[in-house]
């Protein structure tokens, strides 16, 4: 390491895991990507409108619609979390240099679904300037339910263990968001078109988990080549 003073300094700063990441980044020889597209067999439902029953002044600004199942024209499903169930290497997901945030804006959680590193701090921001409360429903972590009145702009929370946590606001019952706590880097989140990518997966055969808040959890096998990428499309059966 002494040969890369910069690198050493970086590692000192950001911990060994980053070093590992870098190492893989430097030597991508035996790692491939998993790319794919998640579809929904059924007819794409039009997201239901949500009536704003409270704090019209703030919440009423923007339209509210049910985000629990967003299907694109080509049946691509948004907000599907794709991850390797059984990673072979002991890699930990690195905390991003800047804290990931949950923004409460117009009585919505933004983003609706996001992936954060286990143990990494999460900034919960209240842009609305009215009382919200963050009520988390984790399975492996300790739940909390904290008020965030106007005077409390930012609260910082963290989840230690890998988990799928729903967050709700009891004040505004329609508000719902999901925080996926990841303890290894091989996670991907499908975009509006339903496509996702998991980068630099060491070659080998894995079980791939697809999770969606409404469509539930499904699995399939993939084999990642030493180089290049493998396509792991998936289609949820109609409900």
């Amino acid at each position: 390491m002494t040969t890369f003073p910069a690198l050493t300094a970086f590692v000192r700063k950001h911990g060994i895991s980053t070093a590992v990441l870098l190492a893989t980044a430097l030597a991508p020889a035996f790692a491939g990507d998993i790319v794919g597209k998640v579809k929904y067999a059924g007819t794409a439902p039009t997201p239901a409108k949500i009536a704003v029953t409270k704090d019209q002044a703030v919440c009423g600004k923007a339209e509210h619609s049910d985000e629990s199942l967003l299907v694109a024209a080509d049946k691509g499903v948004k907000n599907v979390v794709v991850n390797i169930a059984d990673p072979k290497d002991g890699k930990k997901m690195a905390a991003p240099p800047k804290n990931s945030t949950v923004d409460q804006n117009g009585c919505k959680f933004l983003p609706h679904v996001q992936i954060v590193a286990a143990g990494a701090p999460i900034d919960i921001v209240n842009d609305d300037g009215i009382l919200h409360n963050i009520h988390s429903f984790p399975k492996n972590n300790t739940p909390f339910n904290k008020a965030q009145p106007k005077f409390k702009k930012v609260m910082t929370e963290k989840f230690e263990k890998a988990d799928v946590v729903q967050i709700k606001c009891d004040v505004h019952t329609w508000m719902s968001g999901w925080i996926i706590v990841a303890d290894h880097p091989y996670y991907g989140l499908s975009d509006a078109s339903g496509s996702f990518k998991i980068a630099d997966v060491p070659a080998g055969t894995y079980t791939l988990d697809y999770w969606h808040e409404k469509l539930g959890k499904q699995s399939k096998q993939v084999t990642v080549p030493a180089t290049g990428s493998v396509t792991a499309d998936f289609e949820y059966p109609a409900k």
């Binding site: 029953t53 739940p143 005077f151 539930g216």
Partner: protein, 982 residues
């Protein structure tokens, strides 16, 4: 004058040889005798334990030595060496110092001696002088003079002694100054080694070496060991827990510790038996535990022969065949029939608790026993069997004195024939069609008997007919109500809640019941529509007590419309079982009926008369008579109130002392089971009639206990209870007497059990069964289980642990008597139980006692905040701060948004809540009620940081107190105007 040897009858030489041989033989045999007497298994155990203890101590020593910080030690040794060296340097001074001290001490001794001598002479003279003076003797003057000069000499000596003392201290200090450095070092070393030394001493005690070892071996040697052996029987004599040997109660002498040497010592948890520490040292055996071994010994709970010191003789009992075989190999185990209270096998040990822990709803830390107790209570063994302690329990079955208003004869006959065919989860056991009544005659007879019972019940039942329904209900709405208002806390509709496969497996008693125990409190409603008449249902749910004054079914304050809807819905729940499985309605068998009646009547009168009196009867009369006989024989009136049998005593044997019954008093017949009482109990519970097999008996002499279809687990638990019901009388001293507080709590627990509060509420970490149903409702709406669970939690009845600290006793009393909605937005309702004042206050007292709060009266002098304080409070309530009115109801003013987001009316707080609780609640709601929707305003980790900085100087404590006081003023007359804001 003896003849010469050759004339003796026998050859002396031969006799001498024989004599020599036989005396040697006698010697050897005596040796054998001594050895046989000396050789006892418990001695070997004690020797083995000594070895074990020695090993342990050595190990400890080793680890202790490792922990001793060697570096420090070395340094200290170094220090010591230096100190010594330094001291040697000044050897001369040291020597002189020592010499000086010695000289002073010598001089001091010398002078002190003469002082004391003279003093004694002086005292003697003083006496003489006083005597002489009193007698006015001439010698007075002489004495006086002598005393004077003695006194002078004494004074001189006293001074010198004081001088000496002074010099001595001086000399000592100087000496200490010289050696101080060395002594200090030495002391440090000793301190460092203290632990190790202590262990070394212990080791020497446990496993002595050298002379001591020889001495001890000698003390334990055969013959010599009558003096003071170290291997000796360890016993505790328990006069507090005597053993009842047939009418004479003698103190137990528990000798178990002769082999179980470490049972009350921590640190042997993983040692091999018999040296293992008691697995629950905190609860048993341990000196600080509730059952210290020196007071309770072992056999009072474990049973077995207290004085025995040999494996078999102590009546150890193997747990299962595997252990039995293992013991057979290890100890040549075989059952000792000569002790009526053999030890309880490991898995049955909880049976030992019952003889002391009586009249409690549940025994702490005895899950299987408690299971048995709740089963006994639910199934109602006490209705047919007298059991001490269960004397005044209510009948488990519904009263049948008005049955015709409720069910049809057709249904009744089907039900009586085989209740579980209609409702597999029912508690009612099967009475007919059991193995000991399978002959063709029997089958016909039973058909007749069933019809007879129905005839009797319908004939004797009070003629009661309900008016037609006032209208037509809406089944859909009814279903919604049934599944939301709270019926599901005590009832289930299992066909909606579990997969058919699961239910069938449950019916075969292969899997546990998928429905929570609490929700089996009331009957399963899956087929209620095929059972009860709609008119009855309507009346019943509107006011259960009208039909059955002693029912425990509460009143949900249903409006007529609601009642109609529910009735409509329940009537849709009809029998869906495949016709093949249904118990078909029995056909009449006149000849069988007459035969049976004849048999009954002929027991009392000659057959001809019997025939004659039968001939006089109509068919109906015959049926009714047969019904009466049958009910009398099977004792239906034990569980049900049946007209004509109100006073008849139950038919079962008294079980109060069943556990003490020796096995040879139980009739095993040809049942292929082990001849022990537990085995018999289990068989009796599983197949009650099986003991009739192979016997020849008239139908009225056969076994009558009905078949409950217990699972093995249930039968096992009940067996445990039966084993626990012994005739042992425990002296009051050794029974834990409940404190007033405990009694209050226990009394409450009984009501909680009898009214199934756990069906809806979570209390003492149990219950909340209704959530099971609520979750299923949400999942039926397509929610994921997690979602459903969290949503159910938000609409479920509250967790009422800590209620005593939360609410005011008067309020709780009133609420229990006549519940009024606190969370109007909840569909589920607190029913009206029509508690008596006694019951209600018992419950209030229960909660108060559990929280150590005052009962029954409390006063709260909350100072209503004024001026600045009031402004601050209002500010904190405001939207920019805690925005309380956002969710909390304020009297008439409802919050925005849908009801499930609302929170209780704060204007009720002052008459409902306890101010201290309010403060705790505001500080950390999650702590008091995990999962509550009330958000945490003050981060428990960082109170200060999370408090609004610009109120009361951001001091959370003061803020919280203020909020508490303010909340308490809300809704009160004088504070009403302040409350409404903004």
């Amino acid at each position: 004058m003896p003849k010469t040897t050759d004339e003796y009858l026998r050859r002396i030489g031969g006799l001498n040889v024989l004599f020599a041989a036989s005396s040697v033989g006698l010697l050897l045999i005596t040796g054998l005798m001594v050895y046989d007497d000396y050789n006892r298994s418990w001695k070997d155990y004690q020797k083995r334990f000594i070895r074990l203890e020695a090993e342990k101590t050595r190990a400890q020593i080793k680890s202790a030595e490792e922990t001793v910080d060697q570096k420090g030690m070395a340094a200290l040794q170094e220090e010591l060496k230096e100190a010594r060296a330094a001291l040697d340097q000044r050897g001369r001074e040291l020597e002189t110092a020592r010499k000086r001290l010695r000289d002073i001490e010598t001089a001091n001794y010398r002078d002190d001696l003469s002082f004391r001598t003279i003093k004694s002479t002086f005292d003697a003279r003083k006496f003489d002088y006083e005597e002489a003076r009193h007698d006015k003797a001439s010698s007075t003057a002489a004495y006086e003079k002598e005393m004077d000069d003695l006194e002078k000499r004494l004074e001189v000596l006293r001074v010198t002694l004081l001088e000496h003392a002074k010099d001595k201290t001086a000399a000592e200090t100087s000496l200490r100054d010289l050696t101080s450095q060395r002594d200090a070092a030495q002391k440090k070393i000793d301190d460092l080694n203290a632990g190790v030394d202590r262990l070394q001493k212990k080791l020497q005690k446990v496993a002595p070496r050298g002379f001591m070892r020889v001495a001890i071996d000698l003390l334990n040697a055969p013959v010599l060991d009558f003096v003071a052996p170290t291997l000796r029987i360890q016993q505790v004599v328990l006069d507090q827990n005597p053993i009842d040997i047939h009418f004479t109660r003698i103190p137990r002498a528990d000798r178990c510790q002769t082999c179980h040497l470490a049972v009350d010592k921590a640190g042997y948890e993983d040692a091999e038996e018999p040296f293992r520490t008691h697995p629950h040292l905190d609860l048993f055996a341990g000196g600080s535990s509730a059952h210290p071994v020196d007071r309770f010994g072992c056999t009072p709970c474990h049973r077995g022969r207290d004085r025995a010191v040999e494996f078999n003789y102590a009546t150890h009992m193997p747990d299962g065949t595997a252990q039995r075989e293992d013991w057979g190999k290890k100890y040549g185990w075989e059952r000792d029939h000569y002790w009526e209270q053999p030890m309880l096998a490991r898995s049955r040990i909880e049976a030992g608790c019952l003889k002391c822990h009586q009249n409690v709803v549940s025994v702490p830390k005895a899950p299987r026993l408690n299971r048995g107790l709740e089963l006994l209570d639910r199934v109602g063994c006490y209705s047919c069997h007298k059991i001490e302690g269960w004397n005044d329990r209510p009948k488990v079955g519904p009263r049948l004195n008005r049955i015709i208003a409720k069910a049809t004869p057709e249904w009744m006959s089907r039900w009586i024939r085989n209740p579980k065919a209609f409702r597999p989860s029912t508690r009612m056991p099967r009475i007919f069609g059991l193995p000991n009544n399978q002959a063709p005659d029997d089958v016909d007879r039973e058909e007749a008997e069933i019809l007879g019972v129905v005839a009797y019940l319908t004939d004797k039942a009070e003629a009661l007919a309900y008016p037609r329904l006032p209208g037509k209900g809406n089944a859909a709405r009814g279903e919604k109500l049934v599944k939301s208002v709270g019926c599901m806390g005590c009832h289930a509709i299992e066909k909606d809640e579990a997969a058919p496969g699961v239910l069938q497996a449950r019916n075969r008693r292969e899997v546990a019941d998928p429905v929570a125990w609490e929700r089996r409190f009331g009957p399963d409603l899956s087929r209620i529509g095929s059972k009860a008449k709609p008119e009855w249902i309507y009346q019943w749910i509107r006011n259960p007590r009208a039909y059955n004054p002693d029912t425990r079914m509460p009143d949900l304050r249903l409006t007529p419309e609601e009642a109609l809807d529910i009735t409509a819905y329940l009537m849709t729940l009809t029998d869906d079982s495949p016709v093949a499985e249904r118990a078909s309605a029995p056909r009449p068998h006149p000849e069988a009926r007459d035969r049976t009646l004849l048999a009954y009547l002929s027991q009392r009168e000659p057959p001809d008369d019997a025939k004659a009196s039968l001939a006089k009867m109509s068919d109906r009369e015959k049926d009714v008579l047969l019904g009466e006989k049958t009910i009398g024989r099977y004792g239906c009136f034990g569980c049900h109130l049946i007209p004509g049998f109100e006073k008849t005593p139950p038919i079962g044997v008294d079980l109060s002392e069943e556990g003490s019954k020796p096995a040879d008093l139980l009739l095993f017949g040809y049942a292929p089971i082990e001849h022990t009482s537990p085995a018999w109990f289990f068989q009796k519970l599983k197949l009650p009639r099986s003991f009739d097999e192979g016997h020849v008996a008239e139908f009225y002499d056969r076994l009558r206990m009905p078949q409950f279809e217990f699972t093995d687990e249930e039968a096992g638990a009940l067996t445990l209870v039966l084993q626990g019901l012994t005739k042992e009388k425990v002296p009051l001293e050794s029974i834990r007497r409940l404190s007033a507080r405990d009694q209050a709590i226990e009394a409450g627990r009984r009501i909680v059990r009898d009214y199934n509060c756990h069906g809806c509420h979570i209390l003492e970490g149990a219950g909340g069964a209704i959530r099971q149903s609520l979750v299923r409702n949400f999942m039926a709406e397509g929610r994921t289980e997690d979602e459903a669970t969290s949503m159910a939690a938000s609409i479920a009845p509250p967790i009422i642990d800590g209620e005593g600290a939360k609410v005011q006793p008067e309020w709780l009393f009133g609420f229990l008597k006549a519940p009024s909605p606190i969370r109007p937005w909840l569909a589920v309702r607190m029913p009206t139980f029509h508690f008596s004042d006694a019951q209600a206050s018992t419950l209030v007292h229960h909660f108060a006692a559990r929280e150590n709060t005052v009962f029954p009266f409390q006063t709260f002098d909350q100072v209503p905040p004024r001026g600045a304080a009031l402004q601050a409070a209002v500010k904190m309530f405001s939207p920019d701060y805690f925005n309380c009115w956002n969710c909390h109801q304020q009297g008439a003013r409802k919050p925005q948004g849908p009801p499930e987001g609302w929170a209780p009316d704060l204007t009720l707080a002052h008459e409902r809540l306890n101010p201290d609780w309010i403060a705790h609640w505001i500080a950390n709601p999650q702590k008091l009620m995990p999962g509550t929707k009330m958000p945490t305003y003050y981060d428990p980790e960082d109170m200060k940081g999370s408090a609004p900085p610009d109120v009361l100087g951001g001091d959370p404590k003061r803020q919280i107190d203020l909020l508490r006081d303010y909340v308490f003023t809300l809704g009160q007359k004088r504070a009403a105007n302040m409350g409404t804001q903004p």
